[in-house]
Every structure is written in structure tokens, then in C-alpha cells.
Symmetry: C2
Amino acid sequence: MPTAMLSRVELIERLSETFRRYGYEGASMSRIAKATGLGKASLYHHFPRGKEQMAAAAIDAVTSWFEDNVFLSLQSAHPPRQRITAMLETLRDHHDSGRLACLPSLFALAEERTLFGEAIANFFARWIDGLSQTLTDSGLARDIALRRAYDGVERIQGTLILCRALADVRCFAALVADLPDQLLAGADRSTLWTTRGNRPVLPQQPARALRQ
Amino acid sequence: MPTAMLSRVELIERLSETFRRYGYEGASMSRIAKATGLGKASLYHHFPRGKEQMAAAAIDAVTSWFEDNVFLSLQSAHPPRQRITAMLETLRDHHDSGRLACLPSLFALAEERTLFGEAIANFFARWIDGLSQTLTDSGLARDIALRRAYDGVERIQGTLILCRALADVRCFAALVADLPDQLLAGADRSTLWTTRGNRPVLPQQPARALRQ
DNA sequence: GTCTATAAAGCGATAGAC
DNA sequence: GTCTATCGCTTTATAGAC
């Protein structure tokens, strides 16, 4: 019995990269096989329901990664401005300064949304929720914070499109430079937060992103 | 000799709808044949270079439509606020309140960007250029107007993603409500423009969108 | 858990009749 | 300008050996 060539985590990582690059329809089994170094039959061993299951696993993995690296730190004890800056720098890595797309966005735009709609919606609802909490902590009223959280995620996703559309990574650099001030405008209770270790009283319940 | 079933304009319109819905890879020849009511061989009669040529024609058609219905009115003699509101209402129709994607954005995110990169970049550069001119006309300094034009297009594209991702058309409604004020903040020389027929002196050269 | 081999369907594209 | 029929290839997916 041959031993596994890749851990499941590494395997799903390669899957995500392939889907992010080629999209759902464009990520063929042969491309996936090449990207993972596994034969097609081996891939079906790990994912009996085929490509659809692989894509679902990729979305789940991206969501978990965001949970650990983005959403969590949006609710940290650091000053709100610092949390937002950290988010943007994490995103810059994740998207290679705008060269690589966001998997849930990519899937949201075409027909595969019907397959993964719930996972995609959860991803963005969670993101908006976390950012909204950061902005509430900065002293903004809850309704304003929520509205700006939508704005922020929209700007980020729109910027990723422009980066690729114009083939110009300066779009992402401008986002990193401008977004913190835009999100925190008129909220500068942020001086309260510049003292390290000064843990804030967090709101009891996270504001839930608007859903229909 | 059978007569044409669809005018070329109608044919390309059907092509655009199919590509917008399924993406480049997802829009198979059979789907295109069904959507247009033509056989595959007939499609190759109109587009000898096949699917790639069809997609290029679709992008060109979308760009022309935007030129006539969006970009042109961004440079009209109406007050800047009115031009922006008109743009947003035209976009609401074009995107069915956020249910339908933007074709150049869709193509920008996946691998087909390598095929259509120049057309995609032109589309967005033209849009940013037109919006920047509107904002310059509103009295904003040229560098601020250009930055905000990027912001605006980013917000629009990001909103389209969120509409589909959250399956919630209220995202687009919020955009229509908020974007004009955000783009025109601090620019209210706009009172100068509320008088109809008061044609402004337009800048000599349109500001060119940043390109690399 | 991986592989080779292969099935069955769908793909983009073409030939040639009308 | 449209059609039917088909080509050659790729696709997703499976069978079965090791």
C-alpha cells in the first residue's frame, strides 16, 4: 500500500490554487492532476464525488484560512486601525498584490454559484461581520460600521478586479494606503487604542451582516 | 440560400448574455447554439475563428454599449451628480440589479484574461477616464478626481460581486443611494450645475487613467 | 493510496449538402 | 446562411491491478 504523496492539507492547498487560477470550469481534472502530482484515479479516491467535492473542499479551506488569518484578527484586542492594516497586509500576501483572484468571488460571478452559493455567502457574511465589529470598536455607530464594512469588502473585491483587469498592482497598493482612513473616518477614538495591552471591552454579540 | 435568422447585432447580444452567465469556459458551443437558435456550423460561418472570436465580439459589443450609454453621458453637459446618478441607473438595468455579472470583470478574474487582456484593460481605463472627467467637472482637483474614479469603479465591481455572493440585490440599491455623495464629497460646486442648459467649459484633454 | 487502462459523454471544430 | 453528420480530442468518471 503506497503511502500518501501529499497530506490532505497540502492536497487541498494545490486544489485551491488551481481553482483560483483557472476557475471552476477551467480547472480540468488533467490540470488538477498535474498541479497535485496525483493521477486522476487517486483524486477520485480522495474525493469520490469528483470535481464538485474538490471545489467545495477548496472553498472550505479558503474560508478556514480567512477565519484564522483575517476574521480572527479583526476581532483581536489591537487598535482597530492596526487590525485593518493587518488585514490588508495579509490580503496582499494571499492575493499576491492583486495578481491572484479571490476564490469565493470567482465562483460567485458565474454559474457555479448555484452549486456553492451557501458557502460563498457564509464567507462574505463572516468577513463583513468581522470588519463591522472592528469598526464598531473604533467608536462608530453600529449601523454606520455595518455599512462601512460592506463598503470595505466591496472596495477590496473591486480592487482585485481592477488589478487584474488593468494588469497594474498599484491598484492594490493604493487600497492599502487609503482604505484604513476611509473606513475609520470620524471614528478617531483610535487614540484610545494606541496603547498596547489596553484591552477593550468588546461588544457582547457580533453584529450580524444583513442577510435576506 | 436561407435568410439570416438573427441580425448580427442580435446574435452578438445573445452571445454576450451566454458568456456573462456561464463565463468563457462554461459557455460551450452547445449552450451558445441553444441560446442563439443556430447550429454550430452556422456559428462558425459567422465567426470562423470560433469561440475566441465570439467572446472577443461580445466584449467589443459590451464596450460599445457602455460607450454609448455610460461613458458618453459621463461627459455630458448635465450636472455631475446627475451624470453619476444616470450611470448608476443605467448599470442597474444592465446588471439586473446585481443578478447579472459584468463581462469584462468575469473575464478578468480567470485565465481567459490572457486572451482578452487588452480589450478588458481598455474597457476599464475608458470608464475610469470618463468618471474622472465628471468628477473634475464637479470641481475636484484632478488627482483627487482620478483617485475617486478608481474608488467608484472598484465599489461598483465589488458591489456586483457581493450582490451575487450574498444573493441580495439590496447591495446594489445601497450603492445607488450612497455612491453619488461619496464621489462628490467636498465638491459641491455642483450647485453651479443645477441650472439646465448651463453648458460647462470642459477640460481640453481627458485625464488618462493610470496605466503601467 | 497509487497506478494504467478505458469507458461514455461532451468538447471545439469541419465537411459538404441544400 | 443553415443544416446534418462527423472528426479528433478532451472531459469526467470508473474498473481493477499492485
